[in-house]
């Protein structure tokens, strides 16, 4: 797939925005001051102003409906800069779930708010340490107009600052998303700082009143697909940045009286890494495009892209630290942040093994 002019413009402007307003140093500052909200608020405001929060919100709800390729372009720059915002939780997962499965009322209430950046949403899926949406244990029982939820959730991104929880629960045979007010009785949100200095909460639901969606099952499926595809792009961007910083280091650092980039063993490893990064990135963009085109194999492509990107980002992080040597092990130097985020992003919404397993299932083996 080739970017069209609009996409190319978006890419250029987002690249500038993230480099200016969401560089890696912001992540460090947020962490060091143990920021209350845990995300880069000025950057988020700038993204709101640029319309990026509404990138997946349909125009009739105040968004720009730019599609997943656009969201992926944003995520790629987020990955390069390790920018910390609720973009994934809100602009991708929340917007996709609501736009896909929300009732008219729900859409009218939440989508414009997402587009204008006045709310943050959090998707709560995993109820075990590993992502297994086919085997959700959280239960939804009918209660009056709505339902009551019971269960516990892990890895709920941005839940501690969320205005809306989208919770996956099992009702009879089907698994669907339900809308939950984070302040509702029975909701406990335990903010949890993760290895990548992002926030992901543990959420406990004890007889919590929740609101069904018009099609909560479709909302869940669409959110997972969009989230994985966008994460694939983010991880590919991260991998490329880690690679490029390492390449630069190979051209600067001397040992044994010569640049370490002159050592053939490192040259070959750098070449391999470049190839892997390029493939990860190409597949991520292709998968995003397949989603936008609603291609038959979009799901297969997204699973492949997420699996590939998770592996490549981790490889890039590992190789980056190793080739930087001692300095790569220090907190003072930024390269370690890439390794940390690679692990966390790789795990989110299904790790490489999970995605490969589902990939194989769809291919009938």
């Amino acid at each position: 797939m080739k970017l069209n002019d609009e996409q190319q413009m978006l890419q250029d402007s987002v690249a500038r925005l993230m480099a200016d307003k969401g560089p890696v140093s912001h992540l460090r500052e947020l962490r060091d001051r143990n920021d209350e909200k845990g995300y880069d608020e000025p950057l988020w405001h700038a993204m709101v102003e640029s319309g990026l929060t509404g990138i997946l919100v349909p125009e009739e709800h105040g968004g720009i409906g730019f599609g997943l390729v656009g969201a992926g372009l944003v995520a790629r720059e987020i990955g390069r800069n390790l920018s910390v915002t609720p973009f994934l939780s809100t602009a991708v997962l929340g917007a996709t779930a609501l736009a896909t499965g929300g009732s008219v009322k729900q859409q009218q209430k939440w989508l414009p708010a997402i587009a204008e950046g006045s709310v943050i949403t959090a998707l709560a899926v995993d109820d075990g340490a590993k992502h297994r949406p086919e085997a959700i244990k959280t239960e939804a029982k009918a209660a009056g107009d709505g339902v009551t939820l019971n269960g516990g959730k892990l890895l709920v991104l941005d839940a501690h600052v969320a205005d809306l929880l989208l919770v996956a629960a099992r009702q009879g045979e089907s698994t669907a998303l339900f809308l939950v007010d984070p302040k509702a009785e029975g909701v406990t949100i335990e903010r949890n700082r993760m290895v990548d200095d992002r926030n992901a909460a543990r959420v406990t639901l004890d007889n919590v009143a929740a609101e069904p969606m018009a099609d909560g099952a479709a909302a869940l499926a669409a959110a997972l697909r969009a989230g994985r595809a966008v994460l694939a792009a983010e991880l590919s961007g991260l991998a490329r940045e880690a690679f490029e910083r390492t390449l630069q280091y190979l051209k600067e650092r001397k040992q044994f009286g010569r640049l370490i980039g002159t050592f053939q063993a490192l040259q070959h490893r750098a070449a391999l890494l470049m190839g892997e990064v390029s493939m990860s990135d190409a597949l991520a963009m292709q998968a995003l495009d397949a989603c936008d085109r609603n291609a038959d194999d979009a799901e297969v492509q997204v699973l492949a892209a997420k699996a590939k990107a998770a592996r490549v980002a981790l490889l890039a992080g590992q190789e980056a630290v190793q080739m930087h040597g001692g300095i790569g092990m220090t907190d003072e130097f930024d390269i370690g942040f890439f390794l940390k985020r690679a692990r966390a992003g790789g795990e989110t919404l299904g790790d490489a093994n999970y995605c490969a397993d589902r990939f194989a299932v769809l291919r009938d083996y």
């Binding site: 797939m1 080739k2 390449l247 190979l250 051209k251 010569r258 640049l259 980039g261 002159t262 050592f263 053939q264 040259q267 070959h268 750098a270 070449a271 391999l272 470049m274 190839g275 390029s278 493939m279 990860s280 190409a282 597949l283 963009m285 292709q286 492509q301 492949a304 892209a305 699996a307 590939k308 093994n353 490969a356 397993d357 990939f359 194989a360 299932v361 291919r363 009938d364 083996y365």
Partner: protein, 394 residues
């Protein structure tokens, strides 16, 4: 109806009318591939008729200019032709190094005379070409080649030895790198020469591979006379032509390599041999290996697509071709390893009929050459690190 739609309709009708039924079957063996040339024995009348009809249209070389026997098609038209041929599973009518390699070189570097002399017979399938590049002591280090062409006034006299000459024993003409200036530096003083394999002093000896096939020869030149008009490009600048062709060759990678696995999915093949449990392949490790491989292949294809698009957009391919060569061949080798894991004992049989004469094992072994021929994987990584990444020499 647009011109292109019109072209598609006409093409479809023509193919339906002219492609023999037998030429719409998948290749059953290597021999079903039509290489053409003076020595070619057609496998059937249909093979001959099909080649001739396509040659008459110029469609054996669809994008070459009509004046040289080609079809004169635009890239879009050629794409339509390919799609329409694929639709009815039409076989390639004829193909050899003349089409893949010499043609593109002549079109870019050749004189008008050389084009008129050599391109039409290629298009008509009359002359089959082979490539004389490697030498026993110039493998990865191609430019250190020693085969000499001495200027004897009205002709060159060629002496030396080539190796890895594909089907030299079956080809009619050779395009060959020879040293025309022994005093120049390594990359200079090489010329790109053409001559008939029936010339006096040419002899060939097939090399048997570990797969049991002999697609390559050693080729010996003992005082072979070569016409002075048979140099492509400038004298002593043959390395430019060779480099262009090597890149061109590597570009063609990306497409799925031929052979048993072409178009075949590993999952079902494995299920036949390994069985399933609870709806999944019984061997969980093999299942994971297949999935990881297929994901890597998908990522590779995505990159191929991207690089092709960039090339079409005029950004050029250049050293990117080394990335494709490296991963294309390494993935193909991995694919055959996984296939062998899946096939178990059956994959090991070397002569049995049920394995089509040990096809699995032979193709597995043959795949090992992928990362050696046309530039080793190590050379490719060197090109990537130097030219794409700009890493310095020691």
């Amino acid at each position: 109806m647009s011109d292109l739609e019109q072209f598609r309709a006409e093409t479809r009708a023509w193919l339906e009318a002219n492609c023999p039924e037998e030429m719409r079957q998948p290749l059953k063996s290597q021999a079903d591939h039509c290489w053409g040339g003076r020595k070619w024995q057609f496998q059937s009348d249909a093979q001959k008729v099909w080649m001739e009809r396509m040659a008459d249209k110029g469609w054996t070389a669809p994008q070459w200019p009509k004046e040289y026997g080609g079809g004169g098609l635009s890239p879009e038209e050629a794409e339509v032709l390919a799609e329409e041929m694929k639709r009815i599973n039409a076989r390639t009518p004829v193909s050899n190094f003349g089409f893949w390699m010499l043609g593109p070189a002549l079109l870019k570097f050749g004189s008008e005379e050389l084009k008129r002399q050599h391109l039409p017979p290629i298009c008509r399938g009359e002359i089959r070409w082979c490539q004389g590049y490697s030498e026993p002591n110039a493998g990865s280090d191609l430019a250190s080649l020693q085969t000499r062409a001495e200027d004897k006034g009205d002709h060159f006299l060629v002496n030396g030895q080539k190796i890895w000459t594909s089907y030299a024993d079956k080809a009619d003409w050779i395009f060959c790198l020879v040293r025309t200036d022994p005093n120049a530096s390594k990359h200079n003083g090489i010329s790109f020469a053409l001559f008939d394999m029936e010339s006096e002093g040419v002899s060939t000896r097939p090399i048997e591979l570990i797969s049991g096939e002999s697609p390559f020869c050693e080729t010996f030149f003992d005082d072979v006379k070569v016409g002075k008009d048979q140099i492509v490009g400038e004298l002593n600048r043959g390395w430019d032509v060779a480099k262009y062709l090597l890149t061109h060759e590597r570009n063609n990678i990306g497409g799925e390599p031929p052979g048993f696995l072409k178009g075949r999915a590993l999952g079902p093949l494995a299920a036949e041999h390994v069985g399933t449990e609870h709806g999944k392949l019984a061997d969980g490790a093999l299942r994971a290996d297949i999935a990881r491989l297929e994901i890597d292949q998908m990522a590779f294809q995505a990159l191929v697509g991207k690089i092709r698009e960039e090339a079409e957009a005029g950004q050029g391919v250049g050293a990117q071709s080394a990335v494709l060569k490296y991963y294309g061949t390494e993935l193909n080798k991995r694919r055959y390893e996984v296939m062998m894991d899946a096939l178990g004992a059956e994959g090991l049989e070397w002569e049995s009929e049920r394995t089509m004469g040990g096809l699995y094992a032979r193709e597995w072994l043959r795949s090992k050459g992928n990362s050696i021929e046309g530039g080793t994987s190590e050379v490719m990584l060197g090109i990537v690190s130097k030219r794409l990444l700009g890493l310095p020499d020691a």
